[in-house]
């Protein structure tokens, strides 16, 4: 109840309580409820810096772990090419403890139901959307790339901003070429990220490179930011012999251990509870890293989204849930997806600190992710970020979005609200970029993409024997027999199979 009724008072709370330079960044978090807190009822306050953890039932230090665990965790992180920071970092392991209920003095009349900590009311009042104002959209710069409130300027230096711009434009240029190549039948499928480049790059830049990513499929920019070679993306889309996924998944289902990016899978929202579970494991290992889970507004309707948010909250998993709310799930507009205030408002209902940001404002995304990461890592708590954006491209190459939305709508976002255009304007205003450099850069990146693209296209596909490996860690007897069967059969009937395109059996 309070989760909803308190939105209205948010502005005041924010003004009175937040003190840091990021105070306008209104991350909504449930106030501390259990024991010791003198606030009369749970109120959602707004602040952005991590508060000290107040109620830990159970604490551990890295040093208190047995050597075997420690070794195992080190091994695990080596897998990701990550260096652990054992030092003095400690992390709350509080979870699933029983909160001791305090019974009041005789005569005191307050509800003692175990399911909620609340007060009585004699007013018959249902709560609906009308009791609170929608969560505001946090932004840092306007459409023209002008910083609106100087205290919110993240103050990134030229090299970082340039890297952001270059990443976004690289992804954009790659999308154009890959999309066209699908149209020409050269790859089977593709999904562009037009309009959402800012959410990728802004968030990726605010993370520690050791944080582990669980994505949906429209997060190629995160991989680019982390230095995933374009060549590998092409290899995956072509499913050629150099694809680390051995050509088994559809295009854009990237994954990379060394870049801490879990392999994408098609079923929506399944990665969400994974991110919560992984975060829990990392917390237990005493590591100062978190997991980040990207998902769309449509995926948030899946049961797994509910599971993940609730598990992350009750088990105190240091996980950032990053929702790309781009207005559509294929053809379904958000009005047919939900009736609440988007995705962000669900966070506090789960007891999760939440915020809504302008996803086309790369600095707003950066600030929010940075602050969220701070909360996740220092307090071992999940955070929900809803980045409002617009899906400028079609859902995928198998979709023609003009069948369900107007061209004018798309044009508006492409011209007026594009994250790349906005950052471009910012860079112009700083004299960090100009038209000529832009032209030269775009030509250069296009050339590089074409080179990689052609190289990937020329490579053979992997040997068909990889069709039958990696089902288990070791091949079962039956699978071994089936592998022999494939070999025998294809050799006998080779003229009927495209063997010249594949490496030898």
């Amino acid at each position: 109840m309070h989760a909803l009724s308190c939105w209205r008072s948010l502005g005041t709370c924010a003004r009175t309580q937040a003190t840091s330079a990021l105070r306008r960044l209104s991350i909504i978090r449930p106030a501390c409820q259990a024991g010791g807190d003198d606030r009369p009822c749970p109120v959602y306050v707004s602040c952005c810096v991590a508060e000290p953890v107040q109620h830990n039932c159970y604490k551990t230090k890295m040093a208190s772990l047995r050597p075997t665990t420690y070794r195992r965790i080190l091994k695990l992180l080596r897998n990701f090419n990550r260096n652990p920071t054992p030092s003095s970092f400690h992390r709350s392991l509080s979870l699933s403890h029983n909160v001791c209920q305090e019974f009041p003095e005789v005569g005191e009349d307050k509800p003692l139901f175990p399911g909620a900590s609340s007060t009585y009311t004699e007013q018959l009042r249902f709560l609906g959307r009308d009791v609170y104002e929608p969560i505001p959209v946090y932004r840092v710069m306007n459409k023209m790339g002008k910083i609106i409130e100087p205290s919110q300027d993240p103050g990134l230096d030229q090299a970082v901003v340039e890297k952001m711009y270059k990443n976004m434009t690289t992804l954009n240029a790659m999308d154009k070429i890959m999309y066209e190549s699908q149209r020409q039948g050269r790859i089977s499928f593709y999904m562009t990220a037009y309009g959402e480049e800012g959410t990728h790059v802004g968030s990726a830049a605010a993370l520690d490179d050791r944080d582990i990513i669980y994505g949906q499929y429209r997060e190629g920019g995160v991989l680019l930011w982390r230095g995933f070679p374009m060549e590998k993306m092409m290899n995956q889309c072509y499913g050629n012999k150099d694809d680390t996924g051995k050509g088994r998944q559809m295009p854009v289902h990237y994954g990379s251990k060394e870049h801490g990016f879990m392999a994408i899978s098609s079923p929506l929202a399944t990665q969400m509870p994974h991110a919560a579970g992984a975060a829990f494991a990392l917390k237990r290992a005493g590591l100062d890293i978190c997991t980040v889970c990207y998902f769309g507004d449509g995926a948030a309707s899946e049961g797994d989204a509910h599971a993940a948010l609730n598990f992350a909250a009750t088990l105190d998993a240091p996980c950032i849930f990053f929702c790309r709310n781009n207005g559509y799930a294929i053809s379904t507009p958000t009005s047919e997806q939900y009736r609440g205030d988007g995705i962000a408002c669900r966070g506090p209902a789960y007891g999760i600190t939440s915020i809504r940001v302008d996803g086309n404002d790369v600095f707003a995304v950066y600030n929010a992710t940075k602050a969220a990461r701070q909360i996740a890592v220092t307090e071992s708590k999940p955070v929900l970020i809803e980045a409002m954006t617009y899906r400028i491209g079609h859902h995928s190459t198998s979709d023609d979005s003009s069948a369900y939305r107007s061209v004018d709508e798309v044009k508006y976002w492409d011209r007026e609200g594009h994250p790349i255009g906005r950052l471009y304007n910012y860079m112009l205003s700083k004299n960090w970029w100009d038209v000529d450099r832009d032209k030269a850069w775009l030509a250069e990146v296009k050339k590089e993409i074409m080179q990689n693209f052609q190289a990937a296209e020329k490579l053979k596909k992997p040997s068909p024997r990889y069709m039958l490996t990696d089902v288990f860690d070791k091949s079962s007897k039956r699978l071994t027999r089936q592998a022999e069967e494939v070999k025998r059969h294809v050799e006998q009937y080779k003229e009927h199979y495209p063997i010249d395109k594949f490496e030898d059996l």
């Binding site: 399944t270 992984a278 237990r284 797994d304 288990f472």
Partner: protein, 379 residues
Amino acid sequence: MATLGRRLFSICRKTWKKGASLRRLPQQNAVQLLCRNASAWTFVPDLPPEALGETTKMNLFQSLTDAMDIALSTDETAVIFGEDVAFGGVFRCTVGLADKYGKDRVFNTPLCEQGIVGFGIGMASVGATAIAEIQFADYIFPAFDQIINEAAKFRYRCGNIFDVGGLTVRAPWGAVGHGALYHSQSPEAFFSHIPGIKVVIPRSPIQAKGLLLSCIRDKNPCIFFEPKVLYRAAVEQVPVGDYMIPLEEAEILVEGSDVTLLAWGTQIHVMLEVAQLAQEKLGVSCEVIDLRTIVPWDEETVCKSVKKTGRLLVAHEAPITGGFAGEVTATVQAECFLHLEAPIQRVCGYDTPFPHIFEPFYLPDKWRCLEAIKKMINY
């Protein structure tokens, strides 16, 4: 019963020596179970191999607790979670573990099966060992997507750069006398159609401990079904040490020459009685095989036996259509066509939901199995 034969365990860790033999106890030590008319059967304890050392008396839930205790003490990344596991579990399988290992290692989750399995996959994806509990196998279906599309395909889809081999899902399984539709199911056949996971079902406390430890330490996601009717009823001397029983291997419990009887879980105990009845009433010598691992299953042992006996009876509690007996039957007729002397018989649950008051008529009890043997012998 003492003459029921010698069986071989081929492994194991630390103490279980290859070739160690098992003896059956005399029948007077047997425990009569489920006095439910025709579907009554008897649990006859195994004797553990001497090579495994010290033993103590345990029922099935205690041997599972013991296995998990060992798993937690030998692997610091291992955690146990699910609905109500912290206070010991609704079947007492995790009693005392939360106190011993801490609340961050044995903890309750919200009531959500897809979340439980998804959370476990996440933990395993970064290298931890996750032992998830689904309260009844009947309630594993909300997690079907996570098991089929995620856990089973995790390794394959990324070319082996990631895997969730550290995941084990435990679930109470099978008929219990009065469980009706949603506390009786045997869903192993649904999972047998999914490449990438292993499905394991033990028949006794000794087996449960060894097989569960193998599942937990196996590098693949495993589903471990626990015959819940045996939780309290099946009692035997279980080795206290750390031992594992290999997956993917069936076990010949009784050697015979006329008919091969194949089953798993609780049904094994029915089959052992059937073998004895067939000997006494029909003079038929039966070979009884416990399949143990449903997928990937041990075709070699089964086919070798059928080539010897020429006849096969497969029995399971799950409904017959699409049941795992169908897979076994098709494989055996393909592999042993020239050796078969009668059509393969399947004695299974009927193609209905699992009923409440009709349970005694529903189960593939010893009389239905005996009738099938008669048919095969007289074919």
